[in-house]
Every structure is written in C-alpha cells, then in structure tokens.
C-alpha cells in the first residue's frame, strides 16, 4: 500500500522539483522494468527525498515501503534477491553506510546477493540537518567489505547510466549519490562502465582525481587554473571499488603531483584508495588528499559548507595551487 501525498504537498513541490538529479533514479529503474528486468525498489520513509515515489506510483507491486527500519530493509533486500528479483533499496547514505554496515556485510555481500544499495544525500549535502545526516565515512566502511562494488556517480545522468548498467552486474553495489542538485557533467545516455575512470583533461603539473559531486567543481577549478597557464588534468573516478589502477598509474606517470578530491573524510576514502595503489606500485609521485580532514562537519547550508571545506571550484583551485607548490620529498 503506497498512498501518495498530494501533488500540492511540500514534498512534491520542493523535494521532487528541486532535485532533478534524483529523478534519474526512478526513471532509470522504470526503464529497467520496461526492459523486462525483475527490479523491485524499496525505501525507508524517504521516497520523496530520493524520488522513488515516482517508481512507486508507476509500479506499486514492485515497490516495498519499509518504514523507518533501514537494517530490516537491507536484510530483506538480500532475501528478495535470493528469489531471483533485483532489489534496489535506498536511504540516506549516513544510515545505509554506517547503521546498516553489518547487514550489508553479512546479508548482502557475504551472501553474494546482487542487491543495489543507494545511499543518497551523501557527504555534507544535508547541510544544516547536521552531523547525524552527513556521510563522510561511508566510502571507508563500504570499500572494506569484500565482494562489494562501490560507485560514486558525478551527476544524475551518470547515476542513470550506472543504474542501467547494473542490471546484469554480478556483484552487490553500493551507490553513493548526492542530493540531486549537482550540475550535470555528462549528457544523458553517456555509456557507463564499472571499474573505469573517465579522463577529462591531461596535465603535467597536477592531476585532480575526483568522485561524486566534486567532479563538476574540480573541472571548473582545472579550467580556471589552465586559463592561468597551469597544466592541470582531471580524472573522474566513479568506481571507487574496484579501482581503476591503470588510470591512477597513468596519471602518476604524467603529473608531478596527484590530488584526490572527495566529499568524505580523507581517512579511508578515495584518497586512501589511491594512496594504496601508489604505495603498492612504488609510484614516485606526491599525493595530496583533499576532503574533510577527520572532523565532524559543521552545520550550514550545503553551499556554505562546500565553500568552508574548499570543496567548491574556488576552494579546489586554491588547494591545487598549494599542491603544485609542493616539491617532491627529498
């Protein structure tokens, strides 16, 4: 039973209308059902925040409302998957990647069930809702779980492409997505391949490796710096696990400095994953990890937080300028 709220409700007008990025989630799932995929979607009292209300209205028999019981939802999704269905379940990333960490490990990944976990409003995108709602540890928890793929799309179109590409993907996947207001980086229907980085710009001085909502400001920062005579490359790393090691090593061979950018604690996230590759391979390159530096993020509107943590274009450019000034360790 899913009785939708009135189209005049605040949830419809504000959440759905202002988060076009998230409408891609429902649209992509609807297209999978139309293609004959046995998709079932689930949400935990956040269907207007993640846009799944659209899917629920279109396919009520393929939608399960779990109420505020995220752990139950994740484990039940694994049970659903054992019957041959393809479950996509969504809630705030802070709850999915932390509260449900053990259910994801035990019931989804350890049981090898192809559940797709959608952690939305990740990073600090919930702004003044506060630290409880910020997800700055979910990459670290999720990438430590064996047999779990971790994906952080840059925008709505990439999310849609990744969701469509996930239909036949054998492993469970954790999608780490924003709040749906990220400006588009990619045109719709750009093909998506799990495990492949996307090289946007090539640079000798520094290559910025970004994921998720930081890709767009990283590109803007690089354009600014390159216009000022620098040589800055940008790589989008949408799949954090398995990581595109070749792309990292290619960037390391080309640039004097690498800089990771993520809306996450610098401990355990994309930067750490890159550092592991560089160390494994003995790559002689300096890595600067940019993100939240092991603190509980402040409360503020998201745009203010991105500026404060230098995760907007101006901030990323400023950190990159500093990084380019670093000489290789003697």
């Amino acid at each position: 039973m899913n009785r939708p709220l009135s189209p005049n409700s605040w949830q419809y007008r504000e959440l759905n209308a202002k988060t076009p990025g998230l409408s891609h989630l429902s649209d992509a799932l609807i297209s999978l059902v139309e293609a004959g995929e046995p998709v079932v979607a689930g949400s935990a009292d956040l269907q207007y925040s993640n846009g799944l209300n659209k899917f629920a209205e279109r396919y009520p028999d393929r939608y399960i409302q779990f109420g505020i019981s995220e752990q139950n939802m994740v484990t039940a999704a694994a049970g659903l998957a054992t019957t041959g269905l393809k479950p996509y379940v969504a809630t705030f990333a802070s709850f999915l990647g932390l509260l449900c960490c053990e259910q994801i490990r035990m019931d989804v990944a350890y049981c090898a069930q192809p559940v797709r976990l959608i952690g939305h409003h990740t990073g600090i995108s919930l702004g003044f809702y506060g630290t409880s709602h910020h997800a700055t540890e979910d990459i670290a928890t999720m990438r430590a779980i064996a047999d779990l793929t971790v994906v952080s799309p840059a925008d709505g179109p990439q999310l849609a492409a990744a969701i469509k590409a996930s239909a036949d993907y054998p492993e469970p996947i954790y999608f780490r997505i924003g709040r749906g207001r990220e400006p588009d980086v990619y045109p719709l229907d750009t093909p998506f391949t799990f495990g492949k980085a996307i090289e946007h710009m090539v640079g000798d001085e520094i290559t910025i490796i970004a994921c998720g909502m930081t890709v767009h400001p990283a590109l803007e920062a690089a354009r600014t710096l390159n216009a000022q005579g620098h040589s800055v490359g940008v790589v989008d790393m949408p799949t954090i696990k398995p990581l595109d090691r070749a792309a990292i090593l290619a960037a390391a061979a080309r640039s004097k400095v690498l800089m990771s950018v993520e809306e996450h604690n610098v401990l355990g996230g994309l930067g750490s994953a890159i550092a592991e590759v560089l160390t494994d391979e003995g790559a002689p390159v300096r890595l600067v990890r940019h993100g939240i530096h092991d603190e509980y993020s402040l409360i503020a509107p998201p745009t203010h937080l991105y500026a404060h943590y230098r995760l907007d274009a101006a901030g990323i450019a400023e950190v990159a300028r500093g990084a380019m000034g670093i000489r290789k360790a003697a």
Binding site: P38, G79, L80, T82, P87
Partner: protein, 297 residues
C-alpha cells in the same frame, strides 16, 4: 495468496486431520535421535560446539525436514521449495547431517566438519553449503531475510513458505522487531517464525539476562498469529506445523513459540544450564549417546 496451492502426499494428510500417523511419528523420533547423535559425533571433530542448542531444536528439525516442508526433491535450489532460515545459526551442526542425508552434502565433507577449508562451520553459509537457504551467525537478521524471501515469493506468485527458526535470546535484538512490524504490515502470511524457547543463552537464563516475556502477547500485539506448543511433542508439533502451512485463509504471518528444554535428551545437560557451548569428553559423550539411544522423547 491464491498461488499458495501445494501438493500434499496422498497418504498422510487428509484435510480434516493433520495428525501424523504412528509410522510417521516413529520416523520423526528416529530422525530427531539421529540429529542428536550426529551432533555429538561432529562436535567431537571440533572439540567445542552448541550441543544443547541443537538438542532443544531436534524435534523441530525433524518435523520440518522430514515431514512439513516441501523441500526434499533432490534439488536444493528448486525455486518453489520451502525455505528454512536459522536465526540461531549456532545450531547448524544439527542441520548438516540432515542435508547430508538428502545428498546435498557429501559424507566426507560432513565428517570433516570445521577442518581447514571445510564449508561446514559452527554457523551456516549459503555460498558454500547446498541446502542452506541463508547464511547466519549475527543474531537477529534471519527474520528480515525470511521476510524478503516471503515477499519475493508472493511477488512472483510462487507458492513456497518460509520457516525461520529463532532463538529466544534472539528476541533481545532490535532488528527482529523491525521485521515483525514489517511482516505484519505487508501481510506476509507465507512467513512462519518458530521460536525455540529453551530458556537459556550464553550468559545464563534468558529471563535473568534480559527478560522477554510475555512473548506470546508481544507477537500478538505486533500483528502475528501466535501458537504455543511443546517443542518436543512431535505429535503436537507436527500437527501444528502442518496446519499452519496448509492454512490458506490466514492473512497474518505466523509465530510458533516452541516450549523446549535446553539440552533435551541428555539428563545432565537438561539440569545444567552451562551447556550452551561446551565439549563432551569421550566418557561424557558415551553416557550422552547411551541416554539418547535409550530414551523416547
């Protein structure tokens, strides 16, 4: 739930009478004895295990696997089979011999229980062991997994039922109650929870560690149909399970509280609650085997 038709063996279950015949009861008693004896034999390999947790559930295993569940068709992955999940995964050593008898686990694998590289450990692993419908080991997840299976079956108009065995100590886990609310809300009538109410957990009596009564009222209040039965009375237990499984009119999930005795079948375990986890040295094991062989439960 129109698709919940099931084929019943022609001999055993006239619609008006779910009671097992004397022959069936004799077979089930023998299987429960087999479960207890095999548990002692296998734990001898590991030198530590949950004897008494299996012994309280031996009649439940026997009734489900040798009578009630639609499962033994030679294919542990048949989509329409009934499912069985163990919230109390630490009793898996009692289930492995049954799966071996069904031909899902080969004899050599069974005999090498817990040895390096063997798929059989203290808890069940669905990736490694054919016939295990879901892995467990972290208490409190199984009812949610069973709920997902039940909803998945209903969505695909499959007729199977999902049986979830839960420990009574497991009632202390919050996720059990999330699943309980959710199953009632979604009218998962093909979901049947069986609580092995043996009264003990690792640190002592359940009622001392963290009381859970009134258990029947809790489940009823959460929207479930609730039955209480003597979990060692194979006649009553099998009759109830058959009845619950055959009930097409039920719109609620069903909870069976099986009153059991921790360590049932071995007198010194029945009176000594410290046997949740332990090891029987050869002389104690011989006494236990003798008792199990000579007692009729």
């Amino acid at each position: 739930m129109s698709a919940r038709e099931r084929t019943l063996p022609p001999d055993a279950r006239p619609a008006s009478n779910f009671r097992p015949t004397a022959e069936t009861l004799a077979l089930l008693r023998e299987k429960a004895r087999f479960v207890r004896l095999e548990t002692i034999r296998l734990i001898e390999v590991a030198k530590v295990g949950h004897y008494s947790s299996v012994f309280s559930a031996a009649e439940i295993f026997a009734a489900l696997y040798y009578d009630v569940m639609d499962i033994n068709h030679g294919d542990p992955r048949r989509p329409d089979r009934d499912r069985f999940l163990m919230g109390k995964g630490h009793a898996a050593v009692g289930l492995f011999p049954i799966l071996a008898e069904f031909g899902y686990i080969d004899r050599e694998t069974l005999d090498n229980y817990t040895r390096l590289g063997n798929p059989l450990g203290d808890h069940p692993d669905m990736r490694k062991v054919p016939g295990i419908d879901f892995s467990s080991g972290s208490i409190g997840h199984a009812l949610s997994a069973g709920l997902g299976m039940a909803l998945g079956g209903r969505m695909q108009k499959r007729s199977f039922d999902v049986f979830v065995m839960l420990g009574d100590g497991e009632m202390q886990e919050g996720q059990v109650w999330e699943a309980a609310i959710s199953a009632a809300h979604h009218k998962a009538s093909n979901l049947i929870a069986i609580i092995d109410r043996n009264g003990f957990q690792l640190d002592g009596a359940v009622d001392d560690v963290m009381g859970i009564e009134p258990l029947d009222e809790k489940w009823r209040a959460f929207g479930w149909e609730v039955h209480t039965v003597d979990g060692h009375d194979l006649d009553a237990l099998t009759t109830l399970l058959r009845q619950v499984k055959a009930d097409e009119a039920r719109t609620k999930p069903c909870c069976i509280i099986a009153r059991t005795l921790k360590g049932k079948g071995v007198s010194y375990m029945e009176t000594e609650p410290g046997w949740h986890l332990g090891y029987l040295d050869p002389s104690d094991a011989a006494r236990a085997v003798e008792e199990i062989m000579n007692r009729t439960i």
